[in-house]
Symmetry: C5
Subunit: 292 residues, 5 copies
C-alpha cells in the first residue's frame, strides 16, 4: 500500500499549495485526512431529498453543521454560496462547485454544464473548486472541452481543482455500469491524466463484471480494487464516499467517524461525509464528524 504523498510532491503551484494546505492542515483534523460536506442534492436530485426532514432544505443549517462538525470544506453551488457562505465565511473552507445539472432529463448523453467560474470562486473566498466529469459519456467532447477551461483558469489563479469523476452514459451502462471496478478505475485515471488535483470517486465494485474488459473480468477483493484505483490516481489525492459502503442507514453513529479499514487511508486525504445525508434527515448531527 503506497504512502500518501506530501503536498510538496504533487506539482502544485504556490496558490494551489497554499489553499490545499489550509484545507488539509488548518481545518478538520489538521493531519492531512479530510472530510468534506457536499450539499448539491437540491440541484442534482431536486428537493425530494428534503421532504422527510424539511430542516435539511435550509442551506444555513448545513453550513453551520459543516462549521460545528469540523469539516474540512463544504461543497455548494454558486447560488447558495452567494446567499449563505457570508454568514460563516472563513470558518470552514468553501469548495465552489462549478457545474451541475438536474436529474430530470435523460442521462444517456450526460453532461454537467458549467455555471460559474474560478474567478467567482476567488471572489467568494473559496479554497477549491469542484467539477463533475462524466467519464465515458457520449458527450465527452463537450465535457473535456469545458473541463479544460476550468482547469486552465484554476491553474492560472492557483485554485485547487477537485474532480467528481463519475462514470456515466449509455456506453458505461453497457460495460459494467457506473459502479464497476473497471469504470471507477478508469474514472480515477482520467481525472488524473486530465489534471485534477483531487479526485472523488465512488467505491469500486469488482463483482460488477458484465461487459467489462477482460482484464477486469476475474476475481478481485474490494481491497485490491481500491488499491488499484488509488494507484491509477497516482499523485492525484483521492476522496471516496463512505456512505455507499456503510450498511445500515438507520445507524445512529455517523459512519465516517469510524475508520474504514478496507480503504488505504494512508493514501487518501479524506472521506466525503455521505453519511451526513442521513444525519440531515435524522437530525443526528452530533454523530457527524470526520474520522478521528
Amino acid at each position: 500500500m503506497t504512502r500518501r504523498p506530501s503536498l510538496a510532491e504533487l506539482g502544485l503551484n504556490t496558490g494551489k499549495k497554499a489553499r490545499l494546505y489550509r484545507i488539509l492542515h488548518r481545518h478538520g483534523l489538521g493531519n492531512g485526512t479530510a472530510g468534506f460536506l457536499p450539499y448539491d442534492q437540491g440541484l442534482e436530485h431536486g428537493p425530494r431529498d428534503f421532504v422527510a426532514n424539511p430542516a435539511s432544505s435550509d442551506p444555513r443549517y448545513i453550513v453551520k453543521l459543516a462549521v460545528e462538525g469540523g469539516f474540512n470544506g463544504i461543497a455548494i453551488q454558486i447560488g447558495l454560496a452567494e446567499k449563505f457562505y457570508w454568514d460563516y465565511a472563513g470558518e470552514v473552507p468553501l469548495v465552489l462547485k462549478l457545474n451541475g445539472k438536474t436529474e430530470i432529463p435523460s442521462d444517456a448523453h450526460a453532461l454537467s454544464p458549467v455555471h460559474a467560474s474560478v474567478a467567482e470562486a476567488v471572489r467568494l473566498g473559496a479554497d477549491a473548486v469542484g467539477y463533475t466529469l462524466y467519464v465515458g459519456t457520449p458527450a465527452q467532447e463537450q465535457d473535456f472541452a469545458q473541463f479544460r477551461t476550468v482547469r486552465e483558469e484554476a491553474q492560472r489563479l492557483g485554485m485547487p481543482l477537485i474532480v467528481w469523476a463519475y462514470p456515466r452514459g449509455e456506453a458505461v451502462d453497457a460495460k459494467g455500469g457506473k459502479d464497476s471496478f473497471y469504470a471507477v478505475d478508469y474514472a480515477a485515471r482520467t481525472a488524473s491524466e486530465l489534471g485534477a488535483d483531487i479526485v472523488k470517486v465512488n467505491f469500486p465494485h469488482p463483482d460488477k463484471r458484465t461487459g467489462v474488459p477482460s482484464a477486469y473480468d476475474r476475481e478481485f477483493t474490494p481491497q485490491q480494487a481500491i488499491d488499484a484505483v488509488v494507484r491509477s490516481a497516482n499523485r492525484t489525492l483521492v476522496l471516496i464516499s463512505g456512505g455507499e459502503k456503510a450498511g445500515d442507514a438507520s445507524s445512529s453513529v455517523c459512519r465516517t467517524s469510524r475508520p474504514v479499514s478496507s480503504v488505504p487511508t494512508s493514501m487518501m486525504i479524506g472521506i466525503t461525509c455521505a453519511a451526513c445525508k442521513v444525519s440531515w434527515k435524522t437530525a443526528d448531527r452530533a454523530s457527524c464528524a470526520p474520522p478521528s
Copy 2:
C-alpha cells in the same frame, strides 16, 4: 411558516440591494410585498391574446396601466422597452426580460434564447432583469450555459436577477407535468442553487402525481406544497402567479387585490398580476392593483 428575509440577509452586493430596495420599498405598496406586470405574451403566445381586446396590443397602454395601477415593475422585452419605456421612464421600475421565444415550434426541447444583455438593461435604466429557465428540458446544457453569462453579468453590474423557473420539456411531461408539486419545487430550488435573486413559479399542484418520485407520491395540501416551495427557494425571494389559482375569469374584481390566504405571503415578496391579462381584455383596469 418562515418569515420573509430582509434584504440585508440575502447576500446581495450593493447595486443589487439598491435596486431591489427601490423596487420593493419605493414603488407599489412600499412594504416589501410587490406586484409585477409582465407583458411578453405578444412574443410568447403571439398577438392571439390581443384579438379580443385590440387595445391590449398597445404597449403604451400597458406601461401606463403599470404606472397608474401602482405596480412595482413592468417586465417587457428589449424591443418594447426601447420603444415605450421612455414615455414613463422612472415612474415604474423596468424589468428587462432578456430571453424569450415564440410558441410556434415544438416545446419538447424547450429553450428560451437570450436576445438582450444586462448592459442594455443598465442603459435603459432597468432595475432588474428577467430570465426564463426551463427546468428539466433536454436542452438544459445550453440553458444553464446562457444563464451563466446572464448571472455573471448581472452580478458584475449589480442588477437583480429574476428567474421565471418553468418546468418544461418531454422529460417533465413524463414525470408529473409542468404544474406538479414535484416539478415546481424542483424549479424553485434550481433557480436558487444557480443564483437567482428572485424566482417566479406557478402554483404547485400536489395532486398531479403520475410519474413523480416517491417522495411526492402522497397526499399534500396546497398549503404544504407552497410552504415546501418557499423553503426550497430559501433566501431567493418568491413570486407566485395568482392568476392560475383564481377561478372565474369573468370576475370583475381583479384577483390579485384579494389576499391569497393559502400562500405564505410573509415569505413571498409579490404576486404577479396574472389577473391583469383578464383586465386587458375586459378593460377593467381599475380593479388591477397589487394586494393591499
Copy 3:
C-alpha cells in the same frame, strides 16, 4: 386606423434617427412613405429569376434603376454592395442585407446565416441594415442568437434595422402556413418585441385557417387583418410587399405606382417594389416607381 408615428416617437438613438430621416425624407417622395428595391433573388432563388430577361442579372442595371426610379433605398448583399454601390454611392440609400441563404437545401429548419456585419455597412456608407428572421422555425434559438448580435451592433452604431419577418419552417406549415393572418401577425409582433426598427411582412391571408389558433379561426376581412398586423407592430414601422397582392403579372403598369387602398398607408412607411421583379423581366422599367 392609427396614424403613422413620427420618428421622434420611436425611441431611436441619434444615429438611427438621422439615417432614417435621410431615407424617408431626403429620398423618394420625401414624405415618410417609402419604396425599397430589394435585389437578393440571385442568392435566395438563384439566377433562375434572370433567365427570361438576362439584363436583370446585372446589378449595375438594378442600382441605376433604383436611382432613376426615385426609390428610398436598395437592399443588396455584401458582395454586390462592394462591387456595385460605389458607382452610385450616396445617390440612393444602401440597405445592406446582413444574412441570406440559397433555396437549395430543405426549408424545414430554416435559418438565414449572417455573412456581414453592421460595421461593414458603416464602412460602405449604408443607411440601414436588413435581417431575415424566420419566425416559427425550429432553428429559432440560433436565429434569435444571431439576430441579437446584429441588433446590438446596430444599436451601438446608430444603424436602423429592417427585419424581413417571414414565417417559415415545418411548425409554421402545420399551423396555417407562412401567409396566414396568424403567422404574419405573429411575425410582425416578434420583430417588434425583439427590437426591429422597421419590419417587412407579406400580406396576411385571413382565409388560411387550417391549424391556426382559435382566435384566428373566424372571418376577418383583409382590412381587419392588415390593421391588426400594423397594431401588432406598434412603433415598428411596417413595410408590406405590394407585389403579392397585385393580380396580373403581365400588367404593363407597375403596381406599386397605384395606391393600395386596402393598406393603412397612414401607418406604413412604404411598399417594397415587388412589382419590379416583373419589370426586370419585361424591361418595363419606366413604370417602376414608388407610389405618388
Copy 4:
C-alpha cells in the same frame, strides 16, 4: 458577350488590387488571362492520385513546375506552403487554400473546414487566398458563417479571395446534380453575392435537367450556359477548369495550351490547369503551360 472588366471596376481596395495586378499582369502571360495550378488532391482525394506517377507526390516537383510553366499562381494548403513555398518564394504567386477536407466521410452534408487564416497567408507572402464553398449543402449555415470570417479578414488585409464554388450535398444531387447548368449558375452567383473576388466553377452541363427548376428545363447550348454563368458572376472574375471539358486524357498535348473556343475568355481571367493532373501522371510536363 460582355467584355472583361478592368481591375479598376471591381470595387477592390488597394491591397486587393495590388495583389491581383501582380498575379494577372506580372506573371504568366501578363495580359489578364491567367492559369493557376491547384495542388490539393493529396488532401481532397488522398494520395491515390499519385500512385501511377509517384513523382507527382512531391510538392517540390509541382511548385517547380508552376514556376517553369509560367503559371500565374499555385494553390496549395498551409502544410505544403510552409514546407515548400520558401524554395521558390516570389517566383510564382502563392494562393493559400484556407479550407479543405478528405473525401473519406460522406458528402451528404458537405462542409470544408477552415484550417488556416488570411493572416497566415500574409505571413507566407501569398497573393490570394482560396476558399471552397459547397453551394447547396445542408451545412450551408456553417459554411456561410466560416466564409464570412474569411471574407472579412481578407477585406481587412487587402487579400484577394478566390472561391471554389462547388455545388454539393444531397439537395444538389436531387436537383440536377453538381454539374448541371442550374447548379453551376447558382454557385457562381452565390459566390458573387457573398463577396468573392474571383470564382472558380466547373463547366456547366445544360443537358443535366433532371430535377432542375423550370427555367433551366429546356435546351441551352454550352455557349449559352457559360455566357449565363459569367453574367451571374458579374464583376466577380471567373475561372473555369478546362480539364473537365477536354476529351482525351491520354492526349500528349496539354489541353490548356489550346484556346477553348466555347468559353468567353474575354470575360474570364483564366483557366485552371486541370490538364496538369494528367501531366503529373504522364510526366509530360513540357506541354503544361497557360494558354498563349
Copy 5:
C-alpha cells in the same frame, strides 16, 4: 528510397528548429533517428493496461524509464506532466499531448478533444506538442477546426507539432479499415497538408483491400507501401510504431532495439517504442532502448 531531409529543409521557424534539434541531436542517439515513449494508455485505454503489471501504472516509473533508456522524448497528457515531469525536467524532452479521449463511448464519429494548450506546453518546458487527428472521421469538421487552433498556436510559439494521424470512424471501416495501406497513406498525407512537423502512423497493410479505391486494390509489398507513405508525408518527418510489427509479445528482447529492415529509416526519424508497453508489463526495462 529518398534520403531523410535535414532540419534546414523543412520550412521550420527558429523556435521549431531549435526544439527539434534538441530532441533529435541532443538526446537519444543524437543522430537524427529518435525513439519516443508515449504514455497515454491510462486515458486512451484506461488502466486495464496496467492490471498485469501494476508498476506500469506509476508515471514516475515511466518517466524514469524514458530518462534511463535514452529516449528522445516522452509523450504524456497535461495531468501527468504537471505532476511528474518536474522530477526529471530537462533530462528527457517532454512532448505534451494536447488531446485525448477515453475508449468508452463509440468510435463511429471519433474525435479527440483538446484539453491543453501550446502555451501550457511552453510553461512546462516541453519541446514538442502532440495532437491525435482522426483522419476520415465523420467529425472531421470539428477535428480540423480544433487542429487549426493548435497548429496556429504552435507556429506562433515555435513549438514542433507531432501529429498522431490515425484513420478512424465508420467511413474508414467501410473503406479498408484503419490499418489499410490506403488509410495510412491518406493519413500521412493529410497530416502533411494540414501542417504537421512530424507525423506518427501505424504500419500500412497493403493486403487490406476490401473497399479501398482502385489505385490501392492491387499487389504491393510492405516495402512499397511504407515507401509510398514516406513519400506522401514529404517533408513531414515520419514516426512509425514498431510494436505492431513485432511478432512475439513474450520476447524478452525489446523489439525496437533491433533494426526494422523493412522501413526506410533513412527517411524516418524514429520509432515509437511500442514494445515498451510489453516491457512495462514484464518489467524487462533493460531491453528498452532506441535502435542503435
